[in-house]
């Protein structure tokens, strides 16, 4: 959970993006956690339609794939939801570009299958609707961000991202 509280650090957009790209191309630090599979090639790719096996009125059920990857290093491609701040250690990844910013508009709401990304270090974020590829360690289960109160079920922590 250390990554959640990363102090904001000013970096230029270029440096942050280069750093993110480098992390994905070489073996990301997150992958080291799941040794011995520390090779970039062994990062499991997770897709949005693999997160849940059912969406019921009484709640959703995590998929076996998701639960099998809990605590492991994963790569996910998705869209960055319009961020609250231009630079942050936190953003929401969605399967489809969001028409609205749920943070910004009280009427709007998040789609069911979101993944919350906690970056290894605060970075300038890209505009809403941009596809990004995120890598980091998968966390599964209800967690409330003590700073924002945002409740999430699926997170990628200690994460890096690049435009894709």
């Amino acid at each position: 959970m250390a990554a959640h509280g990363s102090p904001a650090r000013l970096t230029t957009r270029r440096r942050a993006l280069l750093g993110a790209a480098a992390a994905v191309l070489s073996a990301p630090a997150a992958a080291v956690l799941s040794a011995p599979a520390a090779l970039a090639l062994d990062l499991a790719t997770l897709q949005f339609d693999q997160l849940y096996k059912s969406f019921g009125v009484r709640g959703y059920e995590f998929s076996d794939t998701l639960l099998g990857l809990k605590g492991k290093a994963v790569v996910m491609r998705g869209y960055m939801a319009p961020p609250l701040k231009p630079e942050s250690h936190f953003f929401v990844l969605t399967g489809q570009p969001l028409a609205l910013c749920p943070f910004c508009q009280s009427d709007a709401d998040w789609p069911a299958d979101i993944v919350v990304i906690y970056l290894r270090r605060a970075s300038p974020l890209v505009g809403g609707g941009e596809p990004v590829t995120v890598s980091g360690q998968l966390e599964v289960g209800s967690w409330t961000d003590p700073q924002t109160g945002f409740v999430s079920q699926i997170r990628i922590v200690d994460a890096t991202f690049r435009r894709s």
Binding site: F55, V57, R58, G59, P82, L98, A99, L100, C104
Partner: protein
Amino acid sequence: MSLAKPGKYTVEATAGDRKASVVWEVFDTGAPKAKNVILFVGDGMSVAHRTAARILSKGMVEGRYGGELAMDDMPHMALVSTAGTDSVVTDSANSASSYTTGHKSCVNALGVYCARNKDTLAHPKVETISEVVKRLRGMSVGVVTNTEIEDATPASMVSHTRRRSDYNDIVKMFFDVQPDVIMGGGSPNFLAKSTPGSKRPDEDDYIKKFETAGYKFVSTKTELANAKTAGKVLGLFNTGNVDGALDRFFLKKGGVPKFPDQPDLTDQIGAALEILSKNDKGFVLMVESGRIDKYSHSLDWERAIFDTIMLDNAVKVAKDFAAARNDTLVVVVPDHAHPVALVGTYDDNRPGQQLRDKLGMYEEAGFPNYPAPNADGYPDKVDVSRRLAFMFGAFPDYCDTGHPYLEGENVPAVAGATKDTYVANEKNCDVPGAARRTGNLPFKAPQGVHAGDDVILTAMGPGAELFRGRIDNTRVFRFMATALGLAPGSSQ
């Protein structure tokens, strides 16, 4: 506070050199005329929605309709003005609140006067009709919708908050008031935080709480059909809004693959009437067709019209119920308008490449060629060669395809690169013949907006004769209260 004597009361508040006042009219209702009230709200339903629904569901030959809508075929009609205390254009919270409390309020507010308190739950409250009829009469109350149950219109039956988006508080308010029938979508705010899919910040399991309080919980059309003998029912049929009629019956898009057994509004009202009519003291039932508005926001008129037809089918169920007895007031009213109009037809066979070339005006419009409606009043095809040209008067930048959105609800605009700006959804711009429209709304508007136009109310049954001419939206509450005789001889 209560004022028992009828008359006009002016309440004035002063602070320094600032002054505010409100005039309250305390009225004597006379003796009860009606035992039950059924209030239908067609959210955002404007005249063009009604006309298009009539064309699609009844057909038109040489300018004459093949039949009447159930909501049109009523003896009493009124023009309702919908403005709130803060704006000429209202939203569904304060407009519905006018119907359920008799007091005007401001945008986003439910069951409160708008003060300056930071705490959205600490604004001065006014009693809702649900609270009044339960307190005074022991009547039953039903709230039935196809939106999330916490959404503004259904919430107005039980809620007191300055901010309609206080969904978790609104769930608690439903629990506190305990309407006997509660049906809609929006289950995530009923689930404990640790349950995946929950939107609560706490571990309260409201489905369990309602069950413990004696409610039968149902989540599908099949379960609902088996729950009619229950005393009280909580039905939550989707995590979001219940899917619209076009998706549920025909296109199978939206949330239909995830929730294949969602009830129709007609199923919901049928079950609600069976349950509520068991109370000898009568009932008040609100039934909302809420996605007429939502689909109009997304500039997706076919979906809005199918849900207008669905509303009409639900009205038919209520009329059949009321016809067998002379004790039920039925009111059908929109809560506000959208800037929409029928301008002609789009005909694929007209010469030219651009969308405007395909638009037939006046005699060139002729009539659309939708297939004859099925038994439920729906044509089974909307992508016909000559379609209604149903136009929106206020919009963000978007691309108008001139065709129905067969792959799912329209998304006219998406977030732009600059914060708080929206740009056209380029997916629609790629459709052959699509016309790029420069928005006429502020850049921050992601979709269509409400209009301040008056809306049309129709009514039948005891007390319906009160509705005539042009009325303020707060009169809807007053006339329902009068029909029920909620304050007979209060002047004594």
